[in-house]
Each structure stands twice: as C-alpha cells, then as structure tokens.
Amino acid sequence: MEKFKKVWRNNQHIVRLLIIMVVWLVFMALTRFRKFYTFNNFQTMASQFPEYGIMSMGVMLCMITGGIDLSCVGIANLTSILAAVWMTKLAGQAGVLSAGYYPLIFLLAIVVGTVCGALNGFLISRIRIPPILATLGVNQLLTGICIASTGGAAMSAFPKQFTDSVAGNIGGVVPVRLIVFVVLAVVIWFMLSRTTYGAKLHLLGTSEKVAFYSGLNTTGLLMRTYITSGVYSALGGLMMLATYASARADYGQQYTLQTILIVVLGGVSPNGGKGRLSGVVLAILVLKLLESGINRFQNVSSYYISLIWGGVLILAMMLDYFSDRSRARAR
C-alpha cells in the first residue's frame, strides 16, 4: 500500500490520466465495442493525433521554462504554404514530385521552424518581451503573411506525391504520421533525460535569476527551446498538409489553445519548472481516445468534445488543488 501511495504521489498526473484512459476504454468496450475496437479506427486515430501531438511537445518545452508558445499554428500554416509552393517548383514541368525530394521538404520545415522559433527566442530572451505577448505577436505576423500571400484562399494545386506518402500507412498497417510522431517524441525524450538540457530547463523554469547566477546560459537555453518548438510546429504543419491535402492561412485555429490544454493536463505547471514528457504524451492519447469515442455515439454531437476537454481541465486543476492542500496539511 505504501509503495502505491509513493508511486501516486510522485506521478499524480500520469496515474490520473491512466485511470481516465482505462475507464474510457472499458466504457467504449461495453457500449460501442464493434464500432470502436476496429483496426481501422485505431489506425485512423493514430494518424490524426500526430499533427497537434507534435506541436504539443514543442509547447511543453516552452511551458517548462515558464513561458508559452502561441505561434504554433502560424508557423504550421506558413510551413504548409511554403511547402506547397516549394513542391510545385521542385516538380517542375512534369508536375510529379519524385521521392528523392522528400527529405528536402522536411528540411524546408526545419528551416522555417528554426527561423520563426529564433524570432520568438530573440524577442523573449534578448528584448525581454513576455512570452505570451511575443508569441502572440509573431503568430499574428505569420498568419498575416499567410493571408497576404494566399489572399485567404486554400492552396490545393500542388503535386500530391509527398502528402499522399505521409498520409499513407507503412505496410498498410502503421501510419507514417505515427512514425514521425514517435521519432520526434524519442528526440525530445533524449534531449530531456539523456542530456543535461532537461535538468537545465527545469531549473531555468524555476528561477531565471538563480539560473543566471548559477552560470547557465539562459539566453542560449531559451533560444534553443523556442527554436525546437518552432521546428516541431513546422513539422506539425507538414502533417496538417498531408491530412487536408491543402494549405490555408486559417487551418488548425483550435490547436493554439488545445496544445496548452494538453500540456497542462499532462502535468506541466503553467508557472514552469515542472513537467514530464510521459504525461504530455498520455494527455495527447487520452484526448484522442475521448474525441474518437464520442464520435461513435451518433446522437451525441461531436461538439461535446470541446465541453469535455474544458471540463476535464478544470477538474484536473481542482484535483491538484485538493491534493496540494492535503499534502501541505500532512507536512
């Protein structure tokens, strides 16, 4: 019993999410087994969550430092639009994009993400604009550039080979997008727990002043964090491009706040200094399961998902509140 209590105390958010996941899976098994537990359904879910899942992981890093990144969607859309243009150019007269060019598309995303993320990082670490305002302004700026360059219309006339591949499944089983997500998740896991970056990030988020006095390169750390978030947002944009087979300035608007919701639900404190990847990944999965499950009930409007997300978030905050109080009393 003691051991369970210790596990609970150290991993509260994760245990909570696991419980919700298990309860929901059981509920779906009892009510919509045939419609939910199909190979197709799981494959679809696994290909849908990566686009916001990847962005969420980037936002997580920013929030551990006590900041935030509201520019995910702007970076994502800009990337998709530039990718569409780039693909059209590369395909040339034939209008067919050969697979050899695929890495270049990823490279483009990384470059765009790095530049945008560096802008965020510069404004926050050098000019000292509060992260919420800096990333908000950059988001407007980038979205504005998207609108100005497309006139607000969707771009769908580009060679579809790349997006078809990304939207496809390897061996007919594993969605490519899922693999991209897993690879990116492993990268962040490695950064956070196998290098000194993770420890430095948590301490930077606890107190930037003490971090500076301790000799940490606070400017460099912040730049690195926001650049990573930018790159992840850009890659998320590629995933979106594959999903919609088109690029538009206003796709994915809901992801701006949704990523924050996921990150907080995953146990990252909005004040910084705390947070683990496992919590965020679980939160991404739980949200997808909830959304997909609700879609299986015809009489229940899919809009209810929004309500449930918000409700779960507030509920989680309340649970945190009560558990903090009882922990303080026990001291």
């Binding site: 000194t196 000799g215 390169n217």
Partner: protein, 495 residues
C-alpha cells in the same frame, strides 16, 4: 510593581505534530523597548502570530492592557492596540503613500466610496505622528526601503497602538537609516507605546532594548535586563553552545596573486578599485550599504560587467561579462540573497548541488552521466555535513544554515580557485555561522583557495579575514591587515 502591558503565560502551539512553542511566557511593560531574540525556527515568529491573532494558541493565557484575550483574529488584535510590522512591510508598491496609509482605516470603517479629501486627511495625520516628510502622492514602489518602513510604521500608529511588534526591522537598512529608526522608536516610547523588537543582532539588542527574551527550539531560555547581558552569555543563550572564536591568520600564502583588479569601475556604483588576492588568504571588503561593495561582488562575478578597468587571473587579463565567464575563470560566488539568487528552493538538494558543474557530468558521448552525478552529490552532502534524510528532497525543507551549506557545496563542486562570498552568514543561525567560518578558514588554509568575504558584520570580517578593504561612496578609503585592527578605526573610514 507596575502592571504589565502584555502578559503571555505558558503558551503552547503545535502544527501537525511539530511542537513549535512549549510553555513559553513573555512579559512586556507599558512603554518598554523589549527585544525578542532567537535563531530561525525557535518559535519567535509563531508567538508573534499568536499575539496578533493570525494563529490560535493551543493553551496558555494572554492578558493585554488588563484584559484577558480569548480567541482573537487580526482585526481584534488591531482594535486592542496590537500592531505588527512584518519584514516586507505589507505595502502596495503600485498605490500612493496616501492610499497605503488610509486603506486600512477606510476599510475598517466599512467605507465603499473613495473620498480623496478624507484619505488625505487621514494620511497627513498619520505621518505627523512621527514627523515623516514624504510626498503623499508618490507611489510607494518608488520609495527607498527606509521610507517604505516609515509608511508601515505610520500606518501602524493609526489605530491607537499600544504595542508595536517589529519583525527584523533593520535587515535592509543602511547604518544611518538604522539610527533614524532607533530615534523613531525612542520617540514612540515617549508617547507611551511599547515596542517588541525581533532581532538576532547583538549590537542592536544592546543599543536599543531595555529588556530581552531569548527563545531556543520553542522554549523560553532566559528573560532579563539588557544591562546584565554580554556577548558570551548571548551566544550561549541563543545556541546552548560555547564558541571559541579563532581569528584567522594567513599561512602558506601564494607568492603571486591569483586574482588582480586594476582600476575597476562600474558606472554609477564604484570606480578605480585596485587590489590583489593571493591564494591562501581571506580578503575582507566592507562598507555601508551604498558603498558599492555588493556591486563590486557582482562585477567580479560577471552579473554586472565592469565599465572600466581590468580583471587579471594569475597575471593574465580575463574578460568577465557573465557568470559563465566567471565560472570558466574558476571564480565562484555565494550571493547575498540565497533564496532568490542562490538556490532553486522547490528543486531537490541534489539538483541544486550539481547545476553549476553540470556540463562536466557528461559521458564521452555527451549524454548525462548519472553515475558521476550521484557520486558528486554523495560527496558534497557528506563533506559539507548537509543535514537531510534524502538529497532528493526539496531545498525548501532545509533550515537556513543548511541551505547555505548547499550553496557552498554547489560552488565547491566547481573547483574554484577564487571564492567570493557576499554576506554569507546573513539570516544564518549562530551555530551554522561559526561552522561556516571555520569551514572558510579551512578552505583558505588547507586548500589554498583565495577568498573574498564581503560583509558589513565587522566582527565577522575582523575575525575571519587576514586583510581588509574599506569602501566608501564607490572608492577604496582604507586598506590594512586585520591584525590588531579595531572596529572604530574601520567605522571611521566607512562613514
């Protein structure tokens, strides 16, 4: 025998199993200046919160002004004439002096609508009581620390206070401001107001109080007249131990200086500072709060890079424009405010110890070497005798003295040649203070480290340094060895 103003008898208080106050008593006469002293955690803050109604006592009686006090809340305490001024003064920096002074009164009178005229009248009345000249329309955030304290005192006087409790009031004041505060306290005494002065600084106890009470570990140790007190008795009452103060003499000093400073200046704070530091010696730097001594420390460590002059390490000029540069030059820095500059309180002791040397804890493949990290943590916890059951506990769980040991561990882990300490024993209990001094002396003597000790605690500086530099208004006014050096000489060059 005159009747006591405050008579607290056999007060007990426990928090979740911790017995914070064990049958303590405190008696204060009307108009008396009484000092309550004790180390961190001795229970003095708890008793104050009980007297002022923030906490409820478990048992015991409190009689104030002839009246038995039952269960009271903070507003009751104020109505009875008890006022507390906490260390942060509880002021609103974003509101004007006038509003800060008048808010309590207005709210107590259950006012809803603001009347500037009424507020001004209340404010003017308040500052007149201690003859405090201030611009009532100024934002409190723009005032100096001493002025903010005056606002807090003026506010405290507005409710017919009979007893004013001041919690460590001189912490952030310059010597001149401390004198001004003492004058105010004497004036309040003239008006028949009793002052309970919480402090652990012996010289203050001597200078201002008539009677004193000392707590240790939640118990009353002694109460008596200040005239009967001396330094040895004071230390013994506070810690229960007797200390031998061994003054430091530098042995085995390196021939060449390991750190040299030439005409160093920071615009607006200090200029033309030059000195040498040799390995094995402890150099003291002292001065008033505004002498530039703290800024000099920050410049040497790169937090506020110099605007003129040079810093040389072992004869070679180095550029120190950030703490990282300083650490790379093997300079460590124990800052003045360990809570907001030295430690990540909510993080573990372990994380705090390794953070500055963290880049050295990597394997050949540049990944984090867990084994090396654990070895370092075990080593330093042991060497600095950090009292904790588990190094993964948060730093916030440690006492002040132990927290300072963690800060020391962090810097020693970086293997510095030069260690700069700014006010290292401020807010540290006397026992830990002596331990830290012994430790520093050992570092200089046995490890050959060059240490710069910046402090305004003259006995600390005289007893632990081999040489001393005095700063005044940004320049060096005096330099000498500490042998046979007396406090008045130093003071004359400081003020």
């Amino acid at each position: 025998m005159a009747q006591a103003l405050l008579k607290a008898v056999d007060i007990n208080k426990s928090f979740a199993g911790v017995h914070a106050l064990k049958n303590v008593s405190l008696e204060i006469m009307p108009g008396e200046i009484h000092c309550l002293a004790g180390e961190n955690g001795c229970g003095k803050s708890t008793l104050i919160k009980i007297i002022s109604g923030v906490y409820e006592r478990d048992s015991g009686t409190i009689e104030f002004n002839g009246k038995q006090l039952g269960k009271i809340n903070p507003i009751d305490a104020i109505t009875n004439g008890i006022q507390v001024i906490y260390q942060d003064f509880s002021v609103f920096p974003n509101l004007t002096v006038m509003e800060n002074l008048a808010l309590n009164t207005e709210l107590a009178a259950k006012r809803r609508v603001v009347s500037r005229k009424r507020m001004r009248r209340i404010a003017e009345e308040a500052v007149a009581k201690i003859n405090f000249q201030v611009d009532l329309d100024q934002l409190v955030g723009n005032l100096s620390v001493a002025e903010k304290q005056m606002v807090a005192i003026s506010r405290a006087l507005m409710f017919n206070a009979k007893l004013i409790i001041m919690d460590e009031p001189t912490t952030a004041l310059t010597k001149k401001e401390v004198q001004a505060l003492f004058q105010i306290i004497l004036k309040l005494k003239e008006q028949g107001i009793a002052i309970l002065f919480v402090s652990h600084k012996l010289d203050e106890v001597f200078e201002i109080s008539e009677r004193f009470t000392i707590f240790r570990s939640g118990e009353l140790v002694v109460t008596g007249r200040t005239a009967d007190l001396n330094e040895q008795k004071f230390t013994y009452y506070m810690t229960g131990r007797e200390f031998q103060n061994k003054p430091f003499t530098a042995e085995k000093v390196t021939e060449a200086p390991i750190l040299s400073v030439r005409d160093l200046g920071l615009e607006g704070h200090f200029a033309d500072i030059s000195f040498d530091l040799r390995g094995g010696e402890i150099l003291g730097i002292t001065g008033l709060l505004d002498s530039g001594r703290s800024e000099l420390a920050l410049t040497l460590f790169g937090v506020r890079p110099a605007t003129s002059g040079q810093i040389l390490r072992s004869g070679k000029e180095v550029s120190i424009r950030s703490p990282r540069d300083a650490i790379r030059s093997k300079i460590g820095f124990v800052p003045e405010d360990r809570l907001s500059e030295g430690l990540f309180l909510p993080q573990s002791i372990a994380d705090n110890i390794v953070i500055s040397e963290i880049d050295k804890l990597r394997t050949a493949h540049r990944t984090f070497d867990e084994k090396k990290r654990q070895a370092e943590i075990d080593k330093w916890v042991k060497e600095l005798a950090i009292a904790t059951p588990n190094p993964d506990n948060a730093c916030a769980t440690l006492s002040g003295g132990n927290q300072q040991r963690v800060v020391l561990a962090k810097w020693l882990a970086c293997n510095p040649d030069v260690l700069i300490l700014n006010g290292p024993t401020v807010g540290v209990d006397i026992g830990s203070k002596h331990d830290i001094h012994a430790f520093l002396q050992g570092l200089a003597r046995d490890a050959g480290m060059g240490i710069i000790l910046i402090s305004d605690d003259l006995p600390e500086v005289i007893g632990n340094c081999s040489r001393l530099l005095v700063l005044k208004d940004g320049r060096v006014t005096f330099e000498s060895s500490t042998q046979d050096l007396k406090e008045p000489t130093i003071l004359s060059h400081m003020m």
